[in-house]
């Protein structure tokens, strides 16, 4: 078996916050293999977007990053300098952002935006780069691609702009694609198109795909594996079918129960909401971060539970007993 595209152990990201430190990511393990779609799920503030930024080497300067192991596309990035990151971005590693309108330059033609990266770093000629751009635009479903290279972002609709972003991310033939909430800003029918497209591309090109989202519906549609994040740690990870059919962590189960599902949730009934709110991440957090909101917490939860080995892992003392 070949080395995974991403092999991350004990990732920690912190920021200065007055006299203490804000520990946004507190020991996170993540592995993505080629041709695999991993969905990182969590609510706002859980650290999922920071994790994505750290994988691109794009964290703000004041952030402090540390990792037990940080191997990305076969390179050791644990102590990488900015130059090392520049060598990965656009050469095997690409990212799609949530809002295509802020990620596209409104005054540059899309053809130029698509090609300039690969011309600069990939050593492609302009003609070859444009050929690749046309091929990719057609691949992501933009008709008459060649004639649209000269157009500007505002001449494309919202869904088409997200397709442009995907095409742009694929220009450098990445092996690992990171997508941070790629469909959150889109209408549901457009979201369906984009997810289909991502799934097809991922299968056809054998990409590793890390998709970050808070929408469990998106996860169910596209994920091979799921990692559920809470307060800077992954509390449960496993194959998508296992996570959805037998969620073991109380937080995962709480999330699943909190969304109404037509035909399953009794209409008009109170939803089993998770009480309270996420804990502050300043300073040290002992034990399970979820225990104050957890309905089954026991005194043992004051100490962090060990994560057992295996495909489906849960960081909870009660995981086995609590599972349905």
């Amino acid at each position: 078996m070949s080395e995974p595209l991403l092999d991350l152990e004990d990732l920690r990201i912190s920021f200065p916050a007055g006299p203490e430190r804000l520990n946004a990511v507190r020991g996170l393990d993540l592995r993505i293999g080629a041709g695999e779609t991993l969905c990182l799920v969590g609510e706002s503030g859980c650290g999922k977007s920071l994790t994505a930024m750290s994988l691109m080497g794009l964290l703000p300067r004041e952030a402090q990053v540390g990792a037990g192991r940080f191997r990305l596309l076969g390179r050791d990035m644990a102590r990488a300098r900015p130059r090392d990151w520049a060598g990965l971005r656009g050469r095997g590693l690409s990212m799609i952002f949530q809002d295509p309108m802020t990620s596209l330059n409104p005054v540059l033609g899309v053809g130029r935006q698509l090609t300039e990266g690969v011309i600069a770093t990939g050593g492609l000629s302009r003609a070859a780069a444009e050929a690749r751009a046309v091929e990719l635009l057609e691949r992501v479903g933009i008709a008459r691609a060649a004639s649209r290279l000269g157009q500007y972002p505002h001449q494309f609709s919202g869904g088409q702009r997200q397709r442009l972003m995907i095409a742009m991310a694929l220009m450098s033939r990445p092996r690992l694609l990171i997508a941070d909430e790629p469909t959150t800003a889109l209408d549901v029918t457009i979201q369906a198109q984009i997810l289909r497209l991502l799934a097809e591309l991922q299968r056809d090109l054998g990409l590793g795909l890390l998709l970050i989202t808070h929408d469990l519906g998106v996860v169910a549609a596209i994920a091979d594996r799921v990692a559920v994040m809470y307060a800077g740690r992954i509390v449960e990870t496993g194959p998508a079918a296992d996570i959805f059919n037998a969620p073991a962590h109380p937080y995962t189960r709480g999330l699943m129960a909190a969304i109404p599902v037509p035909g399953r949730t009794p209409r008009g009934a109170l939803l089993p909401a998770i009480p309270g709110r996420v804990p502050g991440l300043t300073g040290r957090l002992e034990g399970c971060a979820f225990r104050e909101r957890c309905s089954v917490a026991v005194p043992a939860c004051a100490v962090r539970a060990p994560q057992p080995a295996g495909a489906h892992r849960t960081e909870c003392h009660l995981a086995t007993e609590a599972a349905p």
């Binding site: 916050a17 007055g18 309270g276 709110r277 996420v278 804990p279 502050g280 300043t282």
Partner: protein, 287 residues
């Protein structure tokens, strides 16, 4: 329970900001000087004594202990005149931003909030105003209306509102689309209430900065116009006028210019420092 984002108490943040502390102290001193001038001034600033003309300040051998900072060409006590001069500078600074702020903020708010035709008209007026050279127009206006403190304040107030208008227009434009404006309309609030009670408080950070800039600007313009003889009338003490009166003696008695000039410089610098500091303090909070 999430901890709120860490923030030091207001007083500490103010004191931790050198600009605000320093600028505030100097401005406070100037205000005190202006308010308590009759009690602070050792002599009558208008009393002439032609026998004691152009006496030097205390560090000179020829100094008269009764006139700590010497006297001017008419033998008036320079320290007293400097203290009274703070009144003019601050009155102009304050008066001008009251007039210009009212005009500029009203126009800017209306333009940004209503948009469309109102915005077009206001933008045209602003452009027209920007095409007028301030000093020349002020000169002409003061020459026509006659030099006096109130004319000066009125003329400068009518000229210096453009920055208020531009800044409040931009702020109103970005706030207009927020849902809370629609929410206010839904609870039946009128446009005036929304403009002045809901939108205006959200711009105070930006407006305070503009205010300090314009205060400094007005103080300098007053000095310049007084220097040209078109500001404050002769017996009154204004730092600009004092510089003008002292310019004939510039080679032999440079303190006549250095003292009012230095005070002017310190006051303008203090106001600007204060503005910069306040912007830094409020900048993080204004969302």
């Amino acid at each position: 329970m999430a901890a709120p984002a860490y923030r030091r108490p207001l007083l500490y943040r103010v004191l931790g900001n050198t600009g605000v502390t320093l600028g505030g102290l100097v401005l406070l001193a100037a205000v005190a000087m202006a308010l308590f001038a009759p009690w602070l001034a050792p002599q009558d600033p208008y009393a002439q004594d032609l026998t004691a003309r152009v006496l030097p300040p205390f560090w000179h051998d020829r100094a008269d202990p009764a006139h700590l900072l010497g006297t001017d060409h008419l033998g008036r006590d320079y320290l007293s005149r400097l203290i009274y001069g703070a009144r003019v500078s601050l009155a102009v600074g304050l008066g001008v931003i009251l007039v210009s702020g009212t005009i500029g903020i009203t126009l800017g708010l209306a333009a940004g909030y209503f948009g469309g035709t109102v915005d077009m008209i206001v933008s045209f007026v602003v452009t027209t105003r920007l095409s007028l050279p301030i000093v020349l127009v002020a000169l002409a206006a003061v020459a026509l209306a006659g030099a006096s403190l109130s004319t000066l304040i009125a003329v400068l107030g009518l000229l210096l509102w453009d920055r208020f208008a531009v800044v409040s227009r931009a702020a109103a434009q970005s706030l207009r689309s927020r849902d809370f404006v629609k929410g206010m309309r839904a609870i039946g609030a009128g446009h005036l209430r929304i403009l002045f009670l809901e939108l205006l408080p959200n711009m105070r950070g930006a407006l305070i900065v503009v205010m300090t800039l314009e205060v400094a600007n007005a103080i300098l313009l007053e000095a310049a116009l007084s220097f040209l003889g078109l500001g404050v009338r002769a017996p009154m003490a204004s730092w600009g006028l004092m510089i003008a009166e002292g310019r004939e003696n510039i080679l032999f008695d440079p303190w006549l210019i250095a003292l009012p000039g230095g005070l002017l410089c310190a006051l303008v610098l203090a106001v600007n420092l204060l503005g910069d500091g306040l912007r830094d303090l409020t900048g993080g909070k204004a969302k």
